[in-house]
Each structure stands twice: as C-alpha cells, then as structure tokens.
C-alpha cells in the first residue's frame, strides 16, 4: 500500500524494479537462476538491481534441519544454525559440526548465531548455553553467560548482546561480560531481596530446571535483543511486548501486547522494526505503530528481519520473503518452490542476501544485468534495435516485426503508420521525436504530443532513396540521415531529401550504420568500408587503411572523439583520420562486433557475435587490454543470451548512463556503476595440512621429518557469490620457480621434498578474476634424516678420508715390508748366485791353474814358452786371490755366522799391518741383529774405512765404535793420523780411498755417511743408519707399524766395550 509517511531517508539508490517469475533454467549448472518474482505495487524505472536466486537443499549437501540463524565470520565462511546443529558453508560444501571441540559439549540445536567485530562467532544453543568459536576452537560461555541465555543480538558497535534470564542484558567486550541491567533489576535469589545476589546459584537453579520465582526484568523470556543508534538496548519478549534499557533500568516501550516478538531490527533515526507473530510493527521513536508497514505485512508472522547495504528491509515471513524499500513492499512469488516459510535472513560481506528455511538455504545474488524478455511483457525474446529517449522510454523492435516501447513495467506497442506490420530496422531520435527506419515502409517519425503519438512517414515518393531503410540517424543539426538497404544514403533536411550513392563517393549503396562525431563529421559504415563526410567532402577507409575487415557493422563515437568501429573481423578505432586495431586483442574482440557503447566510467560495452564484453577504453587505445581490463558477462550475471544483434544500433547508452543490449534472448540493461563496484576479494586461507595422510596442526611452527614424503596442503578461497569460479595459484618457495597456473583445485601436493626450509603461498581470485594480493602462507621445514644432516655428511666425509688415509698407510707399510722382504730376498739370492758363480769360477780357475802348473813343469827349463806360461800362472793366481776375497765378502753375512764386531775386529789382522797401532773396538748399547743386506754393506764400509786408516793414516790409535740404539745404528771409525786432504774429501778420489764408494753404499742402505778430517788432526768416518732400516724387526705386527713413535723409546742399555789390541 502506498504510505504517505514513506520515510524519505530510505535511499532510492537501489531498490527493486519489476520482477517476474522465471522458471525453467534447471539446465544451468548449479545455479537455478530464478528471478525474484514480485507483484509490482509500483516500481520506478530508475532502480535496476536484480536478484538471481540460488538454492541449496539436501540435494546439494545441506545437512538438513530448519534454519534458525545465519552468520558470517571474517574469514569468509558462512555459518548456519539449524535444528541439526552448526553447519559451516564455504560456497561449495557443507560441514556439520557435531562436537564443540575442545569442550565436551555436543552441538545440539542452534538457536542463534552472531559474528562480532572481534573475530568471535557466538552460538546460542537451545539449551540456553552460549558457545564462542574462535580460531578453530569452541569455548563455553562463562561467568555471567554460562546459562540461561535466551537471545542473541547486536550492538551498534557490532559487539554481541545477550539476554540472560537471571541477569538481564549482558554485553561482551574484550573478554569480559558486562551486565547492562542494573542489579536491582536482576532476578532475586531465593529468599532474599537484597541486591547482592548469588548469581551462580541463581543460574544453577535454572540449569537444574527448577521453575524460577522470577526472572530478571522484564520478568519475561526475552526473545530478541538489539541496540539502536541512540544507545538504547531493546528487549522483545515472548508475551509481554517490548522493553528497553535506560540506565540499567528496564522500562516498557509502548503498550504491552501479547504477541510474541520474534525479531528486532534497529533502523535509522533510532527507529526499530519489530517482527511479531502477528505482523510487522515499527517503533517510530515515541510509540509502536503500524505506520509505514505495508498492508501485506500487517498480519503475517514475521520471523526474521534484516536491512541490507542499500537500506532495504528484508522480511522473512511464514509465507515467504518480502522486500521493503522506499517504493513499497515486494512479495516473493516464488513461495511455492521454497515451501514458503523463511526463518532466517542474513546479508554477507559481498552483498548477497541469504535466506534460510525449513529445508535449506537460498542466496539472492545481485546481478549486474537486468534482462527483460517475454515474461516481462516483451513480445519476443529476440529484438533488433534499441533506443532510449529523453523521457526514459525504451524503444525496441523485435526481429519479427513491429515497434514497441517499454517504460517502467509497461510495454506498449506502436500501431501507428502500419508499423505493426513492418519490420523496423533502426530507431533513433531527438527531443520528442523518434525516427524509425523500416524494411518496406521507408522512414517514419513519431512525435509524442499530449499523450498520443503522431506519425509521419517518408517514402521513395517523397524522395527517399529507397523504401528499405536500414539505418537511421538524427544529427545535431536536425538532419535525418537514412541509410538504405541498397539504394544509398538519404539526408532529410528541411523537408527535402538529398541522396548520395556510390557515385558520390560512398563505398557501397548499402549502409549498415551511421554515426556523428562531436565535431559534426558524419560517418557511414558500409559492407565495403567506412565513409566519412566532413565539410561536404567524402573520404573512404577500407581494409587497406587498416580496417580488420571492410565489412562494417556499427560505428560509435566516444566522448573523446575517437570513432569505434565494429567490423566483421573485430574491433578497430579511428583517431586523427587513422585507423588502428588495438594490440593484444583476445579472441572475443576479434569476432564480428555488432554494437559498441561507452559508459561514463571509461569502459566500452561491446556486443559481439557471441559475447558481451566490457573493455577498458584506455587500454584498447594503448598497449592492449590486460586481464583486468576485460570482462565477459554471461548467464550468471543476469543475461539470458550473449549473442549480439546486428543492427544499426543494438547497444545503446541512455541518459542515465545505463547500457542497453539487444541480444538474441532478451533486452538486457546494466548499470555500469553497479558492475564497476568490485566485489569483495576472495578470502584465502589454509584449511588443512596433512603429511602422509595424517593431519597436522597448522598453527605453530611446522617441522616435518624427512621420512614422511607426501605433503598435502588444502586451502580455500571464500567467495560466496560465486564459489565455483574461484581460482587459485600457489607457489612453494624453495621448490617452485614460479606461481602455478590458475586452477580450481584446492589442494597442493608435494612429494619427496629434500630437507630445508620452505614457504607455501597461495592466492585466490573471485569470480571477477581479481587476484587479490593478500595471500595465505605457510612456512615449514623438513628436517633432514640423520644421514642427511650436514654434520653427518661431514662425519662421513671425514670417516671416508680417514679410512682412505688408513688404507693408504696400510698399503704403504705393507709395500715397504714387502719391499724390504723382497730386497732381503734379492740380496740373499744375489749373494747365493754370486757365491755359486764365484765358487764355480774359482774352482775352475784353480783347476786350470793346477793343470797349467803341471804342464809348465814338464817344459824344459829353457823353453821360450815357459816364461810366458809362468806369467799366465801368476795372472791366474791374482784372479784367484781377488775372487777369493770377493767371495769371502759375499759369504760373510750368510755363512760366516759371525757378528759385526767380530768380523770388524779381525780386519786389522787380515790387513796384516805391522805398524804399532792401538786398535780398539767399542760397542755401545745392546747389540741387535742387523738386517742381512745392511750387515754386508756396513761391514764393507767399515772395512774400507779401517783399511784406509790402517794403510794411509799413519795413525797411532785407531778406534771403531759400534753404537746400537733403538732408533739408529752407528759405526764410527776414528784415527789420530794425518787426516785427509780437504780437497780429496770433497772430490772423493775414486778407488784410492773409496770415499764416494762408501758414500754410495751408505745411501743405498738409507744411511748417512760423514767424514770429518783435518790435516794432522785425524779422521773420523761415521755411518748412521736409522733403526727401522738397520735392525730386524723386533715387534710383532701391530699398531706400531702405523705410526712412528715420537720420541723413540730409549732403552737404557749398559755400556759394553771390548778392547782388542793387536800386536
């Protein structure tokens, strides 16, 4: 009903236009696109928002139960409280919470839900308990809010309000419950009338189920609670009407009534809407009234109330949904489908209105487009041209024929001038005139005068080029241009036609579209190119000038003077007499373009052969449209069809800035500002992480043992408007090089990650392909297995190195031992061979000598042969002698069995020195057996040195010292003779004193040889051989072979010396 006291403060910005029931889109995936059908009381044309309805029942996974309340938390989830308990909805799936973990409370029927501004979700159970859900954990209300809570409400600062049976109104802020009702108003404890109530026992008594004597004021069950902008807390009761709190005192508001108050809605100007079992009421500041309540709602049971962001009121009644705006009440005629009753309402952060009923939830979704078609009164779904005049009347002509107009909810048909039997190709107008171009009837002008239409028609008879007029344009100077089907162009000015054909410069006699630039230049689009008429001069643009195709469909100038050209091969533009094609065009803009219009926000709305597209004008002129500069619209946006119609003008921007599209199905109109408002970005968060199938707590630092190999991270981006279109991109720092391709999968799986630190990022985009930059991230680390850690590896490397070193040493030692064994064997063998050789040789020579002797004896004394043979015998004697000596040397170690000191001691005797020489042999240390090869060489060196001393030194004393130490063996031959000339010392006269020979022998056995001598001061010859080389090994094989002992063991050996004097 029209209400005179319509509240002018209700904004007219968004309201309802006319809506009709539309059924039959069950084909559409998921969304049953149903329009909210409402009988129009009266509706204004200015409002264009339109709601698409989607439903979720048990067929879509709704767990069931009558919905009592709906809320949404800051993370984007929708929470639904039903008789079954608490359900969480993410746009795609429902999740029923059965247990209020970590408490032990089983989530029973939920009575109320509210999400406050501090990130808490408050859940009121039918058991009058309060639960708070925060960060994944439930918590029971405590202290004042432990029991007896009957309703849940919202304060004006978006914090929560409770009504407690015992304590009255309670607010919650920053962890504290604060009772608002003063103590005097609270329920008295039994037997006392003092204000010092033992609130706990009072509460307990409720819990046990005892019938209380009294509640807190207002001494009735509070069923609804809210706060208006003036700070008053309102309490609606079950049977005592409305109360409010003022300074802690509970006061009645208005007269008492007995109908149950189900819901309260705080409204502007501190007004209050009151939903009762018997209709909607209003508190106007002073009293409860029915003023302003539409008649339809006067006696309906009102179950829930919300006010949306456009300041409309939604009313949930037992017979369906009612929408209230400044224009009036609009009833939902979809009731038969919903089963009627709506029990809960909620508007989410994206502006969708959610309605809960006995068997499921619905979402009423604002769409960008409103589409009118046959159900709205249009004669046909497919229309051709569209034009909106200055009065706001939309003129359109169906493809089949006729001319119609639509204004508000009315659709009218033009029958004048035989238009109902003709096909109208184009419509244009100026002022109060509407010009139409017809298929057969030429050109008709319609004028509206005093409520009626007058028509005048021009045909060929009047000078029109052809009776088939395809394009019509009324230019600013009043000239009416008519482009005909094949007869060229006609310009009507001052009642006279001027015709132009190809002979005048038109590229074709068929004109498909006409446009006028702000500077007055006329543009004609033909199938053969673009023609420009300016200052009477014609110019033609063809494909050679850059047009993607010469077959043009439409031309539209924009506010800056750029001419936009829709050709059959895509869009192009002309600026400064030059044709350009925007770079980087997507496929949609390379289709045939049928209509282009510019909105006031810098966007071009384009209808192509198959798409409805909005593109940012500046990017088309510049570097090409990016992802955010282009958007396609489809069925989910309110369109019924997306194919453009080829007409002179099938896309039109009206004076309000709305863009009208004539499409293959329906006449659609969009409010660009509505489409421009970007929807809230999808809220992405990580849902769960599982490692090898076991879930892992996402809170806290995550460390995964490397033995587990499969990590699955589930995430969700919440956008309740269009959950199926949410897409994700993710990246794992430390593994992925770049973001993944957009996809709808909600789980990322990684296997066989090597140890290290990682960070997982995921971002989401909502249905508008907006990649919100806020991302959800999860850092985690993979612990290395013990054998992967750096220290284990280092230890392994060290161990390997040590092993290698040990192996090497072992080999070296073994090789040295083998070498020395071999050397000894070789020495032994050499000795043996030498012995055998010498033996045989010697014996042979001896034998020969004997026989020669005998032979010589038989020769006569004077035989000339005798001296020669005697000489031979002497030589042989020498050979024998030398051979004997050599053999004796060879045999010394193996066969003589004498130790070094004895053999050295004998040397003076053997040398047969006659001089008086004192010879001493001194032994120091415990004599150790020398290795065979060493023994020989030492003996030879010693013998040579002694021989030198005895023969050449002319000394009086000659000493030999044999020193046995654990680490070395030393032979020292000392004489006090004449010394060796320094020069000879250095050069070492070969053969004579054999110094170099001795040195060579010493080096061969690895010993050090030294000669010290000064003329007249004596000579000292020293040979020092390291113990490990000199001595036969005393120790069994063991660790000692690995290391040289430092310092060597020094045996304290008793000194022993033998003195031998030779005569």
């Amino acid at each position: 009903m029209k209400s005179s006291s319509r509240n002018s403060n209700i904004s007219r910005r968004e309201g309802f236009a006319s809506r009709r029931v539309f059924s039959g889109l069950a084909l559409a995936f998921l969304a049953a696109g149903l329009f909210l059908p409402l009988a129009a009381a009266n509706d204004t044309e200015g409002a264009l928002s339109h709601y698409i309805r989607d439903r979720w029942g048990t067929d879509k996974g709704f767990p069931g139960g009558t919905v009592s309340s709906i809320a949404q938390t800051a993370d984007g989830y929708l929470w639904i409280g039903t008789e079954e308990g608490l359900i969480r909805f993410d746009g795609l799936n429902f999740h029923l919470f059965e247990q209020a973990t970590p408490t032990s409370v089983a989530l029973g029927p939920v009575q109320g839900l509210m999400a406050d501004a501090q990130g808490n979700l408050w859940i009121l159970l039918q058991s009058t308990q309060i639960l708070r859900y925060r960060n994944g954990k439930f918590e029971l209300g405590r202290e004042e809010a432990e029991f007896g809570i009957t309703s849940l409400g919202r304060r004006k600062d978006a914090t929560v309000l409770f009504s407690s049976l015992a304590l009255g109104a309670i607010a919650y802020h920053d962890g504290n419950f604060e009772t608002l009702t003063s103590p005097s108003e609270r329920a008295p404890s039994e037997g006392t009338a003092t204000t010092e109530t033992d609130t706990r026992s009072t509460r307990l008594s409720w819990a046990i189920g005892f019938r209380p004597q009294r509640f807190a004021e207002p001494n009735a069950t509070v069923t609804a609670i809210t706060e208006t902008s003036d700070g008053k807390v309102w309490l609606g009761t079950r049977d005592k009407g409305l109360f409010y709190l003022s300074q802690g005192r509970v006061l009645p508001a208005g007269t008492r009534f007995s109908e149950r108050i189900n819901c309260l809605l705080a409204w502007q100007n501190s007004e209050l809407w009151i939903g009762t079992d018997d209709g909607l009421l209003r508190w106007n500041g002073t009293q409860i009234t029915s003023d302003g309540v539409p008649s339809a709602l006067l006696h309906r049971q009102v179950l829930s109330l919300i006010g949306d962001r456009n300041f409309n009121v939604w009313v949930a009644t037992s017979e369906g949904l009612v929408h209230l705006d400044g224009a009036g009440a609009l009833l939902d005629q979809d009731s038969p489908h919903t089963g009627g009753k709506i029990t809960a309402l909620f508007e989410d952060r994206e502006g969708n209105v959610w309605a809960g009923g006995p068997a499921g939830i619905q979402r009423l979704h604002v769409s960008a487009f409103v589409t009118y078609s046959v159900p709205d009164g249009l004669p046909s779904a497919s229309n051709g041209p569209v034009y909106v005049d200055e009065e706001g009347r939309t003129w359109f002509a169906p493809l089949a024929g006729g001319l119609y107009w639509k204004k508000g909810g009315q659709v009218g048909r033009v029958t004048e001038a035989g238009l109902s039997h003709d096909v109208v190709y184009s419509i244009d107008g100026r002022g109060s005139e509407v010009w139409v171009g017809r298929e057969r009837g030429g050109l008709t002008v319609l004028r509206r005068t005093e409520g009626s239409l007058t028509a005048k028609t021009y045909t060929k008879a009047d000078g029109l080029a052809q009776d088939g007029v395809y394009a019509v344009h009324v230019s600013r100077d009043g000239t009416v241009w008519a482009g005909t089907l094949s007869g060229g162009l006609s310009a009507l000015k001052n009642g006279r036609f001027t015709n132009y054909t190809t002979e005048n410069g038109l590229p074709s006699n068929s004109v498909s579209s006409i446009a006028e630039s702000p500077d007055g230049t006329m543009w004609f689009a033909t199938p053969n190119g673009l023609s420009r008429l300016s200052d009477g001069r014609w110019h033609v643009f063809t494909a050679q000038d850059g047009l993607p195709s010469a077959d043009l469909n439409c031309v539209t100038p924009d506010s800056a003077g750029t001419l936009w050209i829709g050709s059959s091969a895509g869009i192009a533009f002309l600026v400064a007499n030059q044709v350009y094609v925007p770079p980087g065009l997507p496929g949609t803009l390379q289709e045939p373009v049928f209509g282009i219009a510019e909105d006031k926000g810098g966007w071009l709305w384009i209808a192509t052969a198959g798409h409805v597209v909005r593109a940012k004008r500046s990017t088309l002129l510049g570097s090409g449209p990016g992802v955010a500069d282009l958007r396609e619209y489809g069925l989910t946006d309110g369109l019924l069809g997306t194919e453009g119609m080829k007409r002179q003008q099938s896309v039109f921007a009206d004076m309000h800035g709305y863009i009208w599209f004539s499409l293959n199905r329906g006449l659609s109109v969009v409010d660009p500002t509505q489409a421009e408002r970007s929807s809230a970005p999808a809220l992405v968060h990580l849902e769960s992480i599982s490692v090898d199938g076991s879930p892992v707590d996402p809170q806290g630092p995550l460390r995964i043992s490397s033995a587990r190999q499969r990590i699955a991270i589930s995430y969700a981006g919440l956008s309740l408007s269009n959950a199926e279109r949410v897409r994700y991109r993710y990246k794992l720092d430390g593994f992925d090089r770049d973001w993944s391709e957009p996809s709808t999968t909600r789980t990322a799986i990684y296997t066989n990650l090597s140890p290290g630190t990682y960070k997982f990022h995921v971002i989401a985009s909502n249905s508008d392909a907006l990649w919100n930059s806020a991302e959800a991230a999860l850092p985690f680390a993979i612990d290395p297995l013990w054998w992967q850690t750096w220290w284990a590896r280092l230890t392994a490397v060290l161990a390997a190195a040590l092993l290698g070193f040990a192996f090497y040493r072992s080999r070296m030692v073994r090789m040295a031992r083998q070498y020395s064994i071999r050397m000894e064997e070789r020495v032994a063998e050499r000795t043996r061979i030498a012995q055998d050789l010498h033996d045989t040789l010697l014996q042979g020579v001896l034998s020969a000598s004997m026989q020669l002797h005998v032979a010589v004896d038989t020769l006569p004394e004077d035989s000339p042969a005798r001296p020669k043979l005697q000489r031979t015998l002497e030589l042989m004697g020498q050979v024998v002698k030398e051979g004997r000596d050599t053999l004796r040397g060879l045999r010394s170690s193996a066969e003589w069995n004498s130790d070094l000191q004895s053999s050295l001691a004998k040397i003076p005797q053997e040398l047969g020195s006659l001089a008086e020489i004192n010879f001493r042999l001194i032994v120091e240390g415990e004599p150790l057996p020398l290795r065979g090869g060493i023994h020989d060489e030492v003996y030879r060196i010693g013998r040579e040195a002694l021989a030198n001393a005895f023969r050449h030194s002319r000394a009086r004393n000659i000493d030999v010292l044999l020193e046995y130490q654990a680490d070395h063996f030393r032979v020292l031959v000392n004489d006090d003779g004449c010394g060796i000339d320094a020069h000879i010392l250095q050069s070492g006269r070969e053969g004579h004193w054999g110094l170099s020979g001795m040195r060579a022998r010493a080096e061969r056995i690895g010993g050090k040889f030294r000669v010290l001598s000064r003329p007249q001061a004596g000579t000292e010859v020293e040979l020092c051989v390291p113990g490990s080389i000199a001595f036969v090994s005393q120790h069994p094989d063991g660790l000692s072979k690995w290391f040289r002992r430092f310092p060597p063991r020094r045996k304290n050996m008793p000194r022993k010396s033998t003195n031998e004097r030779t005569p």
Binding site: Q843, L846, S847, M850, V854, K881, R884, G912
Partner: protein, 144 residues
C-alpha cells in the same frame, strides 16, 4: 818303512773341474796314483771303504755334509785314515776345526802343485807337518 812305489790317493771335491785339476797334478807324479774320486761325503765314505786309499784329499766346503763331517765319519770307521783337507780360503775357522778333528794337514787350493805334492809325501811318510809351518804358510799365503 819301505816306500810304496805309488801313494794311493782319494780326492773328494764337489767341483768336477777341481777334481780334474787334482787328477792332473797327482797323475803327473810318478809315485802317486789317484785311485778314486768322490763328489760328496756319502760317496767319500763309500769310496774309502772300497779303496782304502793311503791319503784322502777332502774339500772342506761341500753341499750337504761338510768335509769335516765326512772326515769324522771316515775316521770313526777307519781311525788310521790320513786325511788332508783342501780349502779355498785361508783363515777359515773351519780349518782349525778340521785340524782338531783329525786332519793331518791342510792345503790351499791355490798352492803351487809342488807344495801340494810335498805335503802329501810328508803326510804319507808319517810326518806331522809342523804347526808353525802351517801358520807360516797361512801368513805367507794371506799376503800373496
């Protein structure tokens, strides 16, 4: 005692060349005769049993049993055996031991044959070669 017109000699040496040399020397003497040769101690004993020579020339160094051991073996069976030891080397300890073990004399293989023959004659004549002479021999030979 009447001179046996031929002294019967057995030579024991492992070197065939040397045996040949000895044979030449002995056979060049009119009153000597080489009745047998042996290459080792075992053969020496066998030959001695068979031949009963007057003099045995025994090489000191032989493979297997040494000359001294062979001499001891022979003298244990034939205490009257007269054995002269032969050696390449002078100053050999074994020479002392040989003389102590019962050798009548020693000979250097490098001695001129007439000295070799002379010592054989003297031993056969029953004379003990003078130890001093031996020593002098030793010395003179070592300075040769």
């Amino acid at each position: 005692m009447t001179d046996n017109p031929r002294i019967r000699i057995l030579s024991v040496d492992d070197h065939p060349l040397l045996r040949e040399g000895l044979a030449t020397i002995i056979n060049s003497q009119p009153n000597m005769e080489l009745v047998g040769q042996a290459a080792n101690a075992h053969e020496a004993l066998q030959q001695f049993r068979r031949l009963h020579p007057d003099i045995t020339l025994m090489d000191l160094r032989m493979p297997g049993k040494s000359g001294i051991e062979a001499m001891i073996d022979i003298r244990s069976e034939f205490p009257d055996a007269r054995i002269i030891v032969l050696t390449t080397f002078d100053g050999d300890l074994d020479v002392q031991r040989a003389l102590e073990a019962g050798a009548r004399a020693y000979l250097l293989k490098s001695m001129p044959p007439r000295e070799l023959v002379e010592v054989i004659r003297q031993v056969h004549a029953g004379k003990e070669p003078n130890p001093q002479e031996i020593a002098a021999n030793l010395r003179s030979n070592s300075q040769a």
